[in-house]
């Protein structure tokens, strides 16, 4: 038989949600949901599911994923993360809710070095969640702030998502990196505001006032690590490496620091770090494959075209269109990883954004920020899952705090939509060539 669009949509989306509810792993749920379709529709065979999965791994851009993750893991294993936490502590720990601010600040520092949010949640969370609980913070708050602050990892440059976005949609990755800086900092400030509010309501302590010696030691300790963003962004803007290759620069530098400067990583450790990187990267990359197959099925049954038709015929103007774009990315982000969403949804919405006169760089940042929020929204929010696992609590228990922390972050997203110049001024100032 030949399946109609409505029926295909019902089987795919309904099947996927049902499978996720009975706790089939998301990567498999995406793949299994396509099976009824290939069995029922005479025009399709299981071949197409395998091929769409397999070919999605045949992508040079995705190589950035393991390398950025490797850089982050090297930082975590090489105790570079500890130095960043120390720096964050002397900078922000003296405020009420000290460790909460440290948690946010270290994520900003970490984000400037790594392109990965999950590694931030794992690496910093492992140290800060127990420390916060010990100092009397509510575990749920500790988990929620760790998860929410880690999303800056993909907003503040460098960013895996921006490398993929720029490659898939032919936009300057350098411009995207620069465009992400200010929104990332604002989100950091919003988070610190929230921490301050929590500290006032629940009477959370400071983390002590550092003296000048501590200040100096913390700066010295983290200085070399803080050079990484210069290397990565400098490498791209300066024309030494392509964005995908820049990930390997970050990894090589972290390796150099860990093995030769700080001497915290031995050759033996390196094997474990490489394995851990491969293990974690392949779990999310594998899901990209099944998500691609799933997305292809939706496209085969004309679902994206329907979405675009509805949106373009509504003539919503730039603000309305941008709101709906953000909503769609947020919604997709509830269920699947950011990278497959970029591939499935980003490419579909690009003409919609162009028709509404939204600048491609602004469109990208709206998409990436919305997708970053998806990292902490259940059912599928990797950073939330990781942080909750570290804190030993269920995702459902921390939901209330996540929502409270997300609200000011959502305000920043709306500000970006209202004032796109916020996003554009930095790349315009530094890379005017991209805006000819």
């Amino acid at each position: 038989m030949i399946i109609s669009t409505v029926m295909a949509c019902a089987i795919l989306v309904g099947g996927f949600i049902a499978l996720v509810l009975i706790r089939v792993p998301v990567a498999f749920a995406l793949g299994i949901a396509t099976l009824p379709i290939v069995v029922l529709d005479v025009r399709l065979t299981p071949f197409i599911v395998m091929d769409r999965m397999f070919q999605s791994y045949n992508s040079f851009i995705l190589l950035a994923v393991p390398f950025f993750l490797l850089a982050a893991n090297l930082m975590n294993s090489g105790k570079i993360t500890d130095r960043l936490i120390e720096l964050a502590r002397v900078l922000t720990g003296w405020m009420p809710g000290g460790l909460g601010h440290v948690n946010v600040a270290v994520s900003m520092l970490f984000a400037g070095i790594s392109g990965s949010s999950t590694a931030d949640a794992a690496g910093c969370g492992k140290i800060l969640i127990p420390a916060m609980v010990k100092e009397g913070y509510d575990t749920r708050f500790a988990v929620a702030i760790t998860a929410c602050s880690s999303v800056m990892g993909v907003i503040i440059p460098p960013s895996i998502l921006m490398v993929v976005w720029g490659g898939v949609m032919q936009i300057s990755v350098g411009a995207l990196f620069l465009a992400g800086a200010l929104p990332g900092l604002l989100i950091g400030l919003a988070l610190m505001g929230t921490v301050y509010g929590y500290a006032k309501v629940y009477g959370y302590p400071t983390a002590g006032r550092p003296d000048l010696g501590e200040f100096w030691r913390a700066f010295k300790g983290a200085a070399l690590a803080m050079l990484t963003p210069m290397l990565v962004i400098g490498g791209i803007v300066g024309g030494i490496v392509t964005p995908t290759e820049s990930a390997i620069i970050a990894a090589a530098y972290a390796l150099f620091l860990g093995m030769f400067v700080y001497r915290t990583v031995s050759v033996r450790d390196l094997g474990g770090i490489l394995y851990e990187t491969g293990r974690f990267a392949s779990i999310s990359l594998f899901a990209i494959g099944t998500a691609s197959a799933f997305g292809w099925m939706l496209a085969f049954f004309n679902v994206p075209r329907l979405i675009v038709d509805v949106m373009t015929s509504a003539h919503l103007g730039p603000f309305g269109t941008a709101l709906i774009i953000a909503f769609l990315f947020l919604f997709f982000g509830l269920f699947i990883d950011a990278i497959p969403t970029i591939i499935i949804l980003g490419t579909v919405l690009m003409p919609v954004a162009a028709a509404a006169d939204i600048h491609p760089v602004v469109f990208a940042i709206i998409g990436i920020v919305s997708l970053a929020f998806g990292l902490v929204t259940p059912p599928y929010g990797l950073c939330l899952l990781i942080s909750a696992a570290i804190g030993g609590v269920n995702v459902v228990q921390v939901l209330r705090d996540v929502v409270i922390i997300l609200i000011p972050m959502l305000v920043i997203l709306i500000l970006i939509i209202l004032f796109p110049e916020m996003v554009l001024w930095l790349p315009k100032a530094i890379m005017p060539d991209s805006f000819r």
Binding site: I22, F47, R279
Partner: protein
């Protein structure tokens, strides 16, 4: 528990291989950068091809290990059942579904590998079965891993029932 021991050993080998592959992934990409800026090595056009070959295997082997370890991410909307029988059903259904998907991969993957076998990569002229074969292999390994975990689950259930009686 000989089967369990063999499978655990096999998975250990997969883990080592995974680490080695991630490390070697850096080589072709680094060569690409080095060849562009120095005369140490000539410009090889096959570096991109080789890196995607290794990449495919990293993903596939990683997915196998994650089935054995049970670390593919799921969404804990429903908490673990308290009743042993319910727990068996809850976890068993998931494993059975994974095994079905895996079996299809193993079965249709054979054709897929053959389809790779009639292609050659453009730069290295390598028979593409070298990567396509990872599909049926992954299918077989997922199947074996998932079924063994199912067997373990049933054994645990029997033990708790035996303890109650």
């Amino acid at each position: 528990m000989a089967v369990g021991y063999i499978l655990e050993t096999f998975c250990k080998a997969l883990r080592v291989l995974l680490g080695v592959l991630v490390g070697s992934l850096a080589i072709p990409v680094a060569m690409q950068v080095i060849s562009r800026y120095t005369d140490l090595i000539p410009v090889y056009l096959w570096t991109e091809e080789l890196s995607t070959f290794i990449f495919v295997w990293v993903v596939m082997i990683g997915s196998m290990v994650a089935v054995w370890d049970g670390t593919h991410f799921d969404v804990q909307v429903i908490p673990d059942a308290r009743n042993p029988l319910m727990l068996l059903i809850q976890k068993g259904v998931v494993l059975v579904l994974i095994a079905i998907f895996a079996l299809l991969f193993a079965w249709y993957g054979i054709d897929y590998a053959e389809f790779g076998g009639i292609q050659r990569s453009v730069m290295m002229r390598a028979n593409l079965m070298v990567t396509y074969i990872s599909v049926p292999i992954a299918g077989v390994v997922w199947t074996v891993f998932a079924l063994y975990r199912l067997y373990e689950l049933i054994a645990i259930y029997r033990n708790t029932k035996g303890a109650e009686a």
